[in-house]
Symmetry: C2
Subunit: 735 residues, 2 copies
Amino acid sequence: MERLLTNNKYSGEDNKHYEGAYTQGNGYLNLRATFEEDLSGATQNDLYWRLPANVTLEKARHPKSKWGLYVPGVYGVHPILGEEIVNLPYGIGINLYSGGERLDMEESDYGDFSRSLNLSNGLLTRALVWRSPEGDIAVTFRRYCSLQHKHTIVQEVELCSASNAELEFESFMDAGVTTNGYSHITDRCGAYRDGLELYASTDSEQRIGMASRCFGGALGEARFEPMDVNGRIRETFRVGLKAGETVAIRKYVWVATSADEDYRGGIEEHLAAVVRASAPDEADFSVHEKLWKDKWNRSDIVIQGNEQLQNSLRFSIYHLLRSANESDKVAIDAKGYAGEAYFGHYFWDTEIYLLPFYIYTQPEYAKKLIAYRYRTLQGARENARRYGYAGARYPWESCVTGTEQCSNWQYADLEIHVTADVVYGLAHYCEATGDREFLLGPGLEMMVETARYWVSRIDRIDGEYRLMGVMGPDEYLPYTHDNAFTNYMVKFSLRKTLETLELVKTAGEPDCTAPLGVTAEERTMFAEIANQLAFGEDAERKFVAQCAGFEDFLDVDFDVVWTDRSKPFGQFISQERNYRSKALKQADVVALLYLFRDRFDEETKRNCLAYYEPITTHDSSLSYIFHSLLYNEIDDRDKAYAFLEKSLELDLGRKGAAEGIHIANSGGIWQAVVLGMGGFRGLADSDLLDVKPRLPDSIRALEYNVCVRGKWHRVAATHEGVQVKELIEERGRKD
Amino acid sequence: MERLLTNNKYSGEDNKHYEGAYTQGNGYLNLRATFEEDLSGATQNDLYWRLPANVTLEKARHPKSKWGLYVPGVYGVHPILGEEIVNLPYGIGINLYSGGERLDMEESDYGDFSRSLNLSNGLLTRALVWRSPEGDIAVTFRRYCSLQHKHTIVQEVELCSASNAELEFESFMDAGVTTNGYSHITDRCGAYRDGLELYASTDSEQRIGMASRCFGGALGEARFEPMDVNGRIRETFRVGLKAGETVAIRKYVWVATSADEDYRGGIEEHLAAVVRASAPDEADFSVHEKLWKDKWNRSDIVIQGNEQLQNSLRFSIYHLLRSANESDKVAIDAKGYAGEAYFGHYFWDTEIYLLPFYIYTQPEYAKKLIAYRYRTLQGARENARRYGYAGARYPWESCVTGTEQCSNWQYADLEIHVTADVVYGLAHYCEATGDREFLLGPGLEMMVETARYWVSRIDRIDGEYRLMGVMGPDEYLPYTHDNAFTNYMVKFSLRKTLETLELVKTAGEPDCTAPLGVTAEERTMFAEIANQLAFGEDAERKFVAQCAGFEDFLDVDFDVVWTDRSKPFGQFISQERNYRSKALKQADVVALLYLFRDRFDEETKRNCLAYYEPITTHDSSLSYIFHSLLYNEIDDRDKAYAFLEKSLELDLGRKGAAEGIHIANSGGIWQAVVLGMGGFRGLADSDLLDVKPRLPDSIRALEYNVCVRGKWHRVAATHEGVQVKELIEERGRKD
């Protein structure tokens, strides 16, 4: 199984697309596919103010290249943007010099350029022939982030010169790196002990240590240079090349931080331990490959008759596998740790878009995502208190503490559906994995605390329970009352809370509710709000209104306003006008009807799609997938497939991925294939393993695995029928 | 007439109050009453990020002292806050040294401290006895901003030593000054030519030049020091003091900028011309005093039987006189140029709070304020275009260009009533002054262009004209529909536009409408919206609802939430909760009912006050005055006076004025006295000179002037009756 993404031409125009799309990761660190060497005109230490503007419409900096090495859990404190992921010092730097010229993709003369990412094993390769002052030199860079030794990045440079040549090989690490234009590094220093060492502190008082060693028979003696004013340290070697001979040089980079679960003592000691535990070994790569293979064995999907979909799908699965963390101190950020556009923050994406993939194919990682929310429950409580409410209120943008990190008040204050979404995800996870221990312990605590928040947040107006002043998933209406999505989610989360409280009782297990102190009055309130909270369903018209008074918002004539559909609608209208118009940023009722697909009838789904789809701009990358899924629900396979195709373009299109992977969309693509056309209904809101594929014409057959309550099933679907086979080898244990 | 404000104790705790309250100005420059000498622990070049937070609730920096020298029209460009007034280099610096010790209000030993501001002539005096290493030295600082030579600040230091002493007298200018934590100075240099010269450029590419000269027989030879790294230049003199002899040293400071109307050539040449035109002359002060007297003669109010009100009122009038600019390139900023808290921006304050004082007592300055809006009409057009509308849309926060400068979208985008307020002010000015030329020329253009904006901004929903998604004067409801204040203002402004168009026709004057291209269809639309725009008046209940659905907002129990009424309510509730509660920041319907006092009957006023006053927090300084004025309307003199008293405290209370003068409140105080208790009804919305005083018990008699259509009237009111006397000497011309 050789699955390669390949590109044969470097251009400053689209280089960042490849940097993002080819990002590597191993559950500890993530590394953008930037070049080892410096690139002219692509400084990495620019300072500027990234303001809390509308990220969707913002123009990104760094046109050609943006280094990115991220260890989730290492964060800084930005005065405007809050807790923010830190772009770590660039440890993998390698510059090559020949006759005074530095190899540079912008300036050098070279040919036969190619770069590729092997999705099967995360190996990144770049090859080119450098027309150097000393003649043609074939250069190949390879690197991978070891799955075996997760603190380690292994690099190789292969050199073959047409004539005798003497190169200079410079290995560097650079702490002069900014994150979104801000330097979170408060101090830094270099050292030399058989190789480079770099230590840095962040403004959150975390410590970072990095070490590197270069190996290779051709290397001369190392010449170390202490840290320069820009924060760079380097060691330089002479490399003698004989005509026609191939020479390989390896560089190992180790990354350790004080945020590591096993951090002890000082950073130097910790780094030394990390280096000792993962000493270079030629056999590493095969172990690494084997570990990748195991991941793929669980999560791969095989499609027949549609190579494009097959490849795009594997691209998404690769990033879902690559970005899942071993630690549950963190979740998966909106850019899949392939860029810093969303500051390393976690959104509702986690539960609604990402979780299903992990629940059904990597349940241990699903548990980490749920556990992350439990770890930040204290922050959510603090959050509720700050806003003036009881219980726990999950933040719209979450980072390490669980307090609100979103710097735009309209999202931070109003997009409160996330708190109910967390419970939706929790319930889904527990139902599908059968993790009763989590449900009745931490899960129930989360449910009860969020339920208490809802009780204090919801108003009773003229005898009716209402949820006033909220923003739904459609962020183009900033301030609405009784958003249908939010209210229904709240009802669901309160019902689940009551069911779980009941479960504790019937199970006769030690009564977990007592420590939570849930009173009879509270249960009554939970039930009353679950039943009576306003919900804008028109049973007669078979229609759900997005919010109270939705009809009063302004109709927009897209043909007049949106003159170039290749750009977001939001660029063609002022925020003020957009905010009072019926143009939707993304699926709102459409998402609701899919997420609770068993509770709404087909006519309602049809009516709502017919009404909302034409006024939806899909300015958010979160929109297509729910359209695909809901069209699938009403068996409109062409439309379902058309929306899936659009979502495939988001990162694979040449404009995509530059600032990171739309990882929620990746999770959504998996859902559209498995839960959509693949017909696996999931267990978010039902308890049946019920598979009804709806393959589009362009697909001959589809095979995928799902793990339900610890049992693995292989589903093989064709246009003729479906086969569900329980896998005897229980992969969840064995692998 | 000697009207002194006096303080006899320096304390770092309240020093900034005096700096703001004793601010001087002359229509060209404004100078906070900061000390001449450096103050320990009060650095002036701090760099920090002032974020677009809620200014009302923000904690100010610079706890002890903030230099402030402002020439309105000199502005910088702040990356977050937009066009911003620039705190100019500090030209008036004087340090005194004795035996190696520097005189310092924080560190030195001194006694008999006093400082005072003479409201009659703007003279600031500070006296103290310095227990210097050389013995007691009586030191008196005096300074004024010349009304005769407006580019000139005149300073004097009087020294009298108990024993022979030799002081060092250091005159300095300092360009290392930041504005709201930001340095708008891009380059700076010093020079020496008979005195100090300092040149600087701003990031808006304006140029600033300053010169100073020191005079006095006691001065030894000057020793000049070139600019240091912090941007300071200085010249030092030895001063020999003989025991018991009084020595006076004068320092003249000239300020010139490329924003001056008469700027020609380079800044050096311009500064030289300014210095030449205002060479030091001992007679200056009497001319200056005479000019101040003329201002007071028009604007003073004499109150009998209430000294506190008399003094407070004169404090307000002083600042209104001091902050009015000679140039119509600028208006009067929210802090009366006595601080930079609101970045030097102009709000609806201009038309609604400030304009009446000027219209009726300083009509030339009223015209400048109106002319400022005309000068920024092009910016307002650009603004409308950016938002996607026709015509002209005045910005919520205006500065030099007229485009929106507010960095919080909810105000910038939604507080659109300002566009109608501008027309209200324009109509008021034209009606009261009879300035038909302005009305039919620039005024009509402003009216028509804003009317066009309204036509494109207003929606027709189910056959009804509605104004959706706005913020009214009450900024604690961020996003409402059909705010009564806004809608009524819009109706008024459209009616005025139609009336003025009609006036052009009936006057038989050259048809000004032709160049504006007003079509018959436009007139029809103006009329239709003026008549039919939604307005939430309940004729039966005699009540006006603040906005559509106001009743659905949450009731707040102030006793529970607002536990310390000495602090703003907004500090006790999260913005989110506040935004969906019925707590009002400030007068909204109450302001409307006063501004259109002849259109609403007394019962409506009573009902609305009874309903809205208890839920109004008065977190904005703009609130009290309209409560005072509307209570006066329903003849509740006690309440009217109580609210007036609260407004007097805003700047005169020890917590006030530190970041500048609440100049809108100053204008409001004048209104509460003249238009409120004084009974002059003004001509904003009627055409009668109709005086019906309603003096509270605590006032025996009241005398004031008003100028109506070029004729000056003196009103003398007592509890027994009122006398209105037309002044034969027409002051508007003669003075």
